[in-house]
Amino acid sequence: MSEKVGVYICHCGTNIAKTVDVEEVALWAGEQDHVDVAREYKFMCSSLGQELIEEDIKEKGLTKIVVASCSPHMHEKTFRTACVRGGLNPFMFEMANIREHDSWTTDDREAATLKAKALTKAAIERVIHNQPLEPLPVEINPNTLVVGGGIAGISAALELAEAGNHVYLVEREPSIGGHMAQLDKTFPTLDCSACILTPKMVDVGQHPNITLLTYSEVEAVGGYLGNFDVTVRKKARYVDEEHCTGCGICIEKCPYKVVDNVFEAGLGARKVIYRPFPQAVPKYPVIDTENCVYFQRGKCKACQIFCPTDPNSIDFEQQDEILQIVVGNIILATGFDLFDVSQIPQYGYGRLANVFTSLEFERMVNASGPTDGKIVLRDLETPPESVVIIHCVGSRDENYHKYCSKVCCMYSLKFAHLIHERLPEAEVYNCYIDMRTPGKGYEEFYNRLLEEGTHFIRGKVAEVSDVARIEEEEGKLIVQVADTLISKQRRIPVDMVILSPAMEARNDSQEVSQLFRMGCDFDGFFVERHPKLDPVATMTEGIYIAGACQGPKDVPDTVSQGAAAAARVASFISRGTVMMEPIRASINQELCSGCRICNTMCPYNAIVFHEDSNVSEVITALCQGCGTCVAACPSGIITGAHFTNDQLLAQIEGILWDVRSNLDLVPVE
C-alpha cells in the first residue's frame, strides 16, 4: 500500500523558527518520497494547528502523520489525539523533536536547519513502518501505598482515605509524625506544631480506611501501575499490638535510660522500651533491643513483669513479619535528612559545647522537650545572654549543597522570635547571606523581627571559636563574620550559637529510588515528571512523590503536595481502568527455540518459560515495554510493538539521509 504522509513543521513561536529555517524544511519535506503534504505553522499544538492535521487527514486521505516540533513529552499525546479525531490510529503518528534536540542547542542556523531535516526525515522513514496499535486496558487496584508518615504522607493518606479509598501507610519509625512532630512552633503564624499535627495523626490512627504499618519498611516492589506487589517488613516491636492498651507502665518501670538521638536530637533521654513522644501514633511502645538488658544479657524483664494486660503484651519472642500487599498506586513521602553540621568543622559543632543544631534548639524550646521549653546552654541550667543564629549551613555553599534549602531563613527568624519571647534581655543575631522570605505572611514576619530588635548581619560566618583576643571575649563563643553591609569583619562574642543546616535528601534515597524504579537527581532528591506542570508524578507510571523527598520545602507546600499526589491517585482509582500504551514485547511462540537468554532479563518478571513446550512467553499484562528482552533475544524473535527492527532501522536510515550519499561505505577496492 502506498502511504500518504503529512508533515507539519512547527515554528513554536520563535523557539524553533529563530534558529531553524522552518519554511525551507517544510519545502524540502514536501519533496520527500511518500510525503503528500508538508506545511509549517506558528504553533502546531494550538487548536488551529491540530485542526490542520485533522482536515488534511480527512480531505487528502493521509495515512501517516509527522509533526516536527518539541519533545514528545510535551505534545505527543496532543497530536496523537488530533490523528484520532481525523480518523487515524494514534500510532500512525511520529514526532520529530527539533526544539530540545535542535533549535535550543545551537545558534548556527545552517546546522540547525540541516539537523531539523535529518530528524524530520528520520520520522518520515519511521512512520511509514508504523503499525496501528490498540491501547491495553489495565484495572487499577483501588488500594494505595503511602511510604512515609510525616506530614506529606499523612496528608496524602487522609485525603485518599476520606474519599473512601484504602491506604497502607508505611512508616520506618515507631510513630508517624515525621519531622513536624519534633518542631515547637511553625512559622510565620507560630501555631504550635504538635497542636495542629496530632489531630491529623489521631485521624490516621483511627481511620477505618487506613492500615497503619509503623516500624515497617518496604523491602521489594514488583508489578506496575494498577497492580504493584509490595513486600513490607514489619519489624518486631516485642509488644503485642492486639492486647497492649498503651498505658505506659512498662515505660515507667523500665530501669534503663539511653540518649534519644532520633526524636530528641541527642538532647534528651528515653527509656529502652519507649514511645518516641507522648502523642505517638500508634500508642504501642517498642523495645530497643540494642540497649535492652534482657536482650543483651537475658535478665530484667521488668516491662513484662509489670505489664497489666492479660494476656501479657510484652512478647520477647516476637519476630519480624513479612507482609505482601497489592496496591494500584504508590505515593513516596519519605522526607529529608538534616545536613550533618560536623562536616563544617570551623563552626565547632561537637567541639564547642554551646553550638547547637536547629533541631536541638527546636527540642529545647518545645514545652514537652528535654528542658521543658527553657532556653539554656549545654549545662541545661544557664540561660544565654546572647545568641547567634547562622543561616545557610551547608546550603548555598559550593562545598556542600549549592541549592537554597528554602525554609532556613524563616525558621531562623522564628528562633530569634522565640528567644526574644522567652529571654527578653538576650541579644539575638542572625547571620544570613540573603534573607529569603517569599510566602504568605513571611515577609511580614521578617519585618516583625526587625522591630523586635534582632541584629541582622548580612554575611557568611567564617568561623566560631572559643579563642579570646580581648577580655570581652573571654569564656564566650566568638563568631567571626564579614558584615558585607558595612564592609567590616566583625567578631561577635556570644553564649550560644545555633546552626541552621541544609535540608538534604535522605541518605538512602538512591536505594529507595531504585527500589521503586524512579529517578533521583544529583542531590538525591526524587525527580518529578515535569518541574512545573507535573511536580508530584514521576517518570514511572503509578508512582508519585510528595514533600521534601522531592526537594526542600516548608509545611504548607508539603501538605499541598501530599494532597496533590492523593488527587492524582484518586483520579486513577475513580476511573477503575486506565488505557496503557500498547507498547509491549511479544515472543513469536513458533520461532522461539528456548535458549532462555531472556528469562532473567525482565525487570518486571513478565517472562515465563514453558518447560513442556520449551518456549518462553511474555505476559502482556506484566510487560512494561522497556525493550530489554527485545535487545537480548539473539534470535530476533521478540518484537517490541512500536519499536520494531523495521521502524528503528528506517529511522536510522532517515537520520543519515545526507550521509549515505557522501560516503562510499563499501569501496570496490
Binding site: 527455540s593 531472556c598 528469562n599 532473567t600 539473539p634 534470535s635 530476533g636 524473535i637 569501496p667 577496492e669
Partner: protein
C-alpha cells in the same frame, strides 16, 4: 534445454577453502543420482572446464549454479557476473558466498595490511626485495595478468542478484540433498520453487531448537576458550561460559557441534528478523553477564563487567566469524584509525 535434455548443473568456487565442493561429495552415493539427473556444465574442482567454455554458453544455459566462495578479487567478481548471466537459478552456496565468512574477517583491516602480513612481515617469508603481487607484469613472453586483490570482501549478493541462499560452513549433507530434491522436482516435474531470495536448506528457528543440551536461566561470570575447560556433559555450553552462538544462529545443521562439546560457531547465519548476527549475539551475551550488584558504585561495576568481557579475546572474530560482509558495518572504517593499516 540442450541436446541430451538433462538439466545443467554448475558449481564454482570463488574465494573459498574448497570445503563446499567436498560437502557436495559428502552426500555419498546420492552423488550418483546427481550425475544421473544433471549434466555438469561447469565444475572446475572435479571436471576440466575453462572459463571460455562458460562464455560460449548462451545466456541462461545453466539451470542451477551453486556458487561458493566470497568475492575477494576481480576474478571472483567477473565469474559472479558471468555465471549470473549464464544461469537460470543462482544459489549462494555456503557461508562465504552467503555472508562473507572467514575471508570477510579481513574487512577488519586493509588490503595493504593483508599483503604486508602475507608477503613481507610473516617470519617464515624470505622476500628481501619486498616483491608484492602485481596485477600486470611484463615478461619476455608478453604481459602477465593477475586478478586485482580487493580491499573489501563481499558476499555474492553484494555484486550480483542471487536467487537462493544455502547457508553453512559447509552446508550439511541432508540439507544439500533436500535442496537438490526441490530443484530436481521443479526441473523435472514442474513443482514450485521457493520464493526468490529464500534461505533454503535451513530452518527458521535457532540452533538451540535442535540442541539437546539442557538449558536454564543464564548468568555468566566469565567466559572460557574451548581449550580452557572440559564442559559438563548434557548442559548448555553457553551457561558454562563457552561462547556458543547457537541462540543467534539458524538451525538446520542438527546442532552437531554443541552435541560433541564444541560451541556453535554460527556458520548458518542469522535468523530472519536479525539484521546483524554479531551485534545480536553480543547484545545477548551482554544481557547475561551476571556480576556486581546494584549497591556498587558505577565505576566498580564497570570494572567487574569489563573483567568478564576481557575473557573474550577476539570479539569481532568470535561474533562476526561468518557474517562480517553482511553485517551492518560491513568493514572497519578505512579512513579512521580502526584498521590495522593506513587507508589506500
Amino acid at each position: 534445454m540442450t541436446e541430451n535434455a538433462k538439466p545443467k548443473l554448475a558449481m564454482y568456487w570463488a574465494s573459498s577453502c574448497g570445503g563446499c565442493e567436498i560437502s557436495i561429495l559428502n552426500i555419498h552415493e546420492k552423488i550418483l543420482i546427481v550425475d544421473e539427473v544433471f549434466d555438469i556444465a561447469f565444475f572446475p574442482c572435479i571436471a576440466d572446464f575453462k572459463t571460455k567454455d562458460v562464455k560460449g554458453y548462451p545466456d541462461g544455459y545453466i539451470d542451477v549454479c551453486l556458487f561458493n566462495g566470497a568475492i575477494r578479487n576481480s576474478e571472483n567478481e567477473e565469474m559472479a557476473h558471468l555465471l549470473r548471466q549464464k544461469s537460470k537459478v543462482l544459489v549462494a552456496y555456503g557461508s562465504c558466498s552467503y555472508e562473507g565468512c572467514i575471508p570477510a574477517l579481513s574487512n577488519l583491516t586493509t588490503k595493504q595490511a593483508t599483503l604486508d602480513t602475507v608477503f613481507l612481515d610473516n617470519p617464515t617469508i624470505d622476500n628481501p626485495e619486498g616483491i608484492l603481487p602485481q596485477p600486470r607484469y611484463e615478461v619476455p613472453e608478453g604481459e602477465l595478468e593477475l586478478p586485482v586483490f580487493y580491499n573489501t570482501v563481499k558476499s555474492l549478493d553484494q555484486v550480483v542478484d542471487v536467487d537462493y541462499y544455502l547457508p553453512g560452513c559447509p552446508p550439511e549433507p541432508p540439507q544439500i540433498w533436500a535442496v537438490l530434491e526441490i530443484v530436481v522436482a521443479a526441473l523435472l516435474e514442474g513443482a514450485p520453487l521457493p520464493p526468490k531470495g529464500a534461505i533454503v536448506g535451513a530452518r527458521d528457528v535457532a540452533v538451540c531448537e535442535e540442541c539437546p543440551l539442557e538449558k536454564h536461566e543464564k548468568t555468566i561470570n566469565r567466559f572460557y576458550r574451548p581449550y580452557e575447560i572440559i564442559p559438563e556433559p548434557g548442559l548448555c555450553l553457553l551457561e558454562q561460559g563457552l561462547v556458543c552462538v547457537g541462540p543467534a544462529t539458524r538451525a538446520g545443521c542438527g546442532a552437531l557441534c554443541p552435541q560433541v562439546g564444541m560451541s556453535c560457531r554460527g556458520c548458518y547465519g542469522p535468523l530472519d528478523d536479525v539484521e546483524d548476527q554479531g551485534a545480536k549475539m553480543l547484545s545477548a551475551i551482554a544481557s547475561v553477564i551476571g556480576v556486581g550488584d546494584p549497591s556498587m558504585e558505577e565505576d566498580e561495576l564497570e570494572r567487574e563487567i569489563q573483567a568478564v568481557v576481557d575473557t573474550i579475546p577476539d570479539p569481532a572474530g568470535t561474533f562476526y566469524r561468518f557474517s562480517m560482509a553482511h553485517s551492518l558495518l560491513r568493514r572497519a572504517n578505512l579512513n579512521g584509525g580502526n584498521g590495522k593499516g593506513e587507508a589506500k
